[in-house]
Amino acid sequence: MSESILSDLFLGELRSDLALPYPVLDGDQQELLGMLRDSLKRYGADHIDSEAIDRAHAIPEEVLRNLGELGLFSQIVPEEHGGIGLNNTQYVKVCETLTAIDGAVAILSGGHSTLGIKALLLEGTDAQKQRYLPRLATGEMIAAFALSEAGAGSDAQALTTTARRTESGDYRLDGNKLWITNGGVADLFTVFARTPDHPRADGRTSISCFMVEKSAGIQIGPEEDKLGIRGSSTVPLVFDGVPVPADNLVGEPGMGFKLALRILNGGRTGLAAGCLGAARLLLAEAARYTSEREQFGQPIARFELIQQKLARMAHDIHALDCMVYLTTGAVDAGRDVALEAAACKVFGTETLWAVVNDAVQCAGGNGFTTDYPFERMLRDARVNMIFEGTNEILRLMIARTGLAEPGRRMAAGVPSQEHYGRRISGAEAPDPLTVPDGLQADALALSLATAELARASAKALQDHGESLPGRQLVLGALADQSIAAYGQAAVLSRATAVVERLGEEGAAAELQLAKGACRRLARWGRESAASLRDNDDEVLLATAAAVTAAGGMPG
């Protein structure tokens, strides 16, 4: 058995031991988080003008300095190195708060904490930590993460920036990086480069991770002129023989790509929570607007097609909320959540996109103007589906990883009558999660969805065999089924905890949201499953080939 709820769903297993109870912060953790969030929120309300930041394409320096004093950069730096030492749940809750304050500030914070300083935290030596973390905690140094290159986006391993050893044992870096978040304001860069002088025993490409100070001679390119998060810095970098001391290699030489993936895989809950914070704010704006805006003699919130949007937003936001903090709880319990975090990122970014779309629609013509925050938030939201792993790549990762164990068992010829076999063939659904009375039907739906995912996985393995890793439409549909089921599990888990705490009556609001969220997720899962049986994949792929051949509209 794995330690991953999501991965075991592909085996038809519903891990109630991992899904329940829903994780919560203890009193002290909550108190610390409350103080930090309170300061940031109040500072944001008084001193951060998102419209101005969007127009100026930059966050004012004074704001950066003040945010540093409030602890923005020190969140996950351990106390012994001058930081606050938040755990993952606390940190991700701050990420949620930050997007509601300002999108660009949230990206700045994530670029620093989620990505920029993570290599040091995970694999830095004590000396390396001591050298940089205290300054990174105060914001005296801001960090950035430099992995992507022109020819190495989703295929990050194709990077060509190279670090060669000099006679003294130090390194010289040559190459170019692209799309570097925080690049224009950062002082310290986590740079991934090929290290041919450290060949790997397994013959794979040797990539290593370096902490490189800007002052060592990194050339910072011009700011990208972006659709959204315009206040966030995104630049290309040029390394032209930049000297890097041997001491600044982080982790094991040659194993840097693994470290990069570990950082990226571990960081996606922060982005998902950012989407959650923005989506909550949008729903509040939409709720207010539709109550105040009157047409045909009444507030438009009284019309069903508006109500449909408000409810849809609320249900999806609730599902995302439950998913994100079930996942961060697992991180804090020491479990690997690469798949769950990817699921949160995919669901979170697409939820925000749907929410912002609905919110703009609720606001009609006003939503389209800069008099209201909707259009800026729409622009800010779009990039989320692209960076930190495109949603396409993450769907493939979820499905390929999830299918690995069923595939292995199938190849090993484990008899179908054995435990996994009945489950994997869908003949036996796992026991439903133990949930409050009002959610029994939804727990059963999850159980059936889990069996269906296992069945569909087995069928995909049988039908496509070796070619399955390339069948992206199949993998995408399986990934969606698994994300939906993980969401259902998270919603049920949270509702169960809330009912335990407040009783069914006190938890009425939670149960209402849980029901709505579960049903939407279950429907999405069923539709994804159905799309594997009944689809237009062949004609779709043929048309796509024709479009490519014709360079546009075929015929």
Partner: protein, 252 residues
Amino acid sequence: MKIAVCVKRVPATDTRIKVGGDGQSIDTAQVEWIVNPYDEFALEAAIQLREAAGEGEVTVVCLGPAEATSELRKCLAVGADKAILLKDPEAASHDAQVTAGALAAAIEGLGVDLVLCGKLAVDRDQGQVGVLLAARLGLPCVTEIKALAVADGMATVERSGDGGNREKFEVTLPAVLTCDKGLNEPRYASMKGIMQAKKKPIDEVEPQLGSGLLDVKSLELPPERAAGKIVGEGVAAVDELVRQLHEEAKVL
């Protein structure tokens, strides 16, 4: 300079208040709690005085339930030196006499030069505790101050009087002052403050509770506000607006 600041744990100002099942208190199940905003002006004033003097000690005192340690921790993170929690699960139900009595008993032994309170707590909105506290302690009291300076054992304070008059007082210390909005801009807890607050002491003390003189018989929410009314547009609507404000709304 030793300063005591009285603080209260109150529901966040954007809380949607629901009356509890007993009809005499609010339903606290979904309430988020904050430090009473007027008490934050008092705390900020105290910290500024200590900083200006370069020495001294700011003690926050709170009559509240065990959970109020969260609000006290916030006060410590902002810059108070220590906190005293007069722990009482029933704190929310006491009248101002009982509250003032408990605070007075706790503050009496501290030997402070100044006691600062908010002008009122935003939960009950009564504004009695500061004045009653001064009476119990036998100290002079100025309410709703908007400016404060301390020198040579005297406090110079300003408050808004009737009709917008600015009143200025000189008060011999020790004294009790209740603080109004406009006195200062309360600071945000910094990271350093938050980290230091973990190590500062919160003394939990059994409060000395007298008997109250007031009982809450029932609580009910105000009736829902009627919808607004648009009288007309532009200058042409002024006469009609004035007439309606005068004759119907009777506010002019």
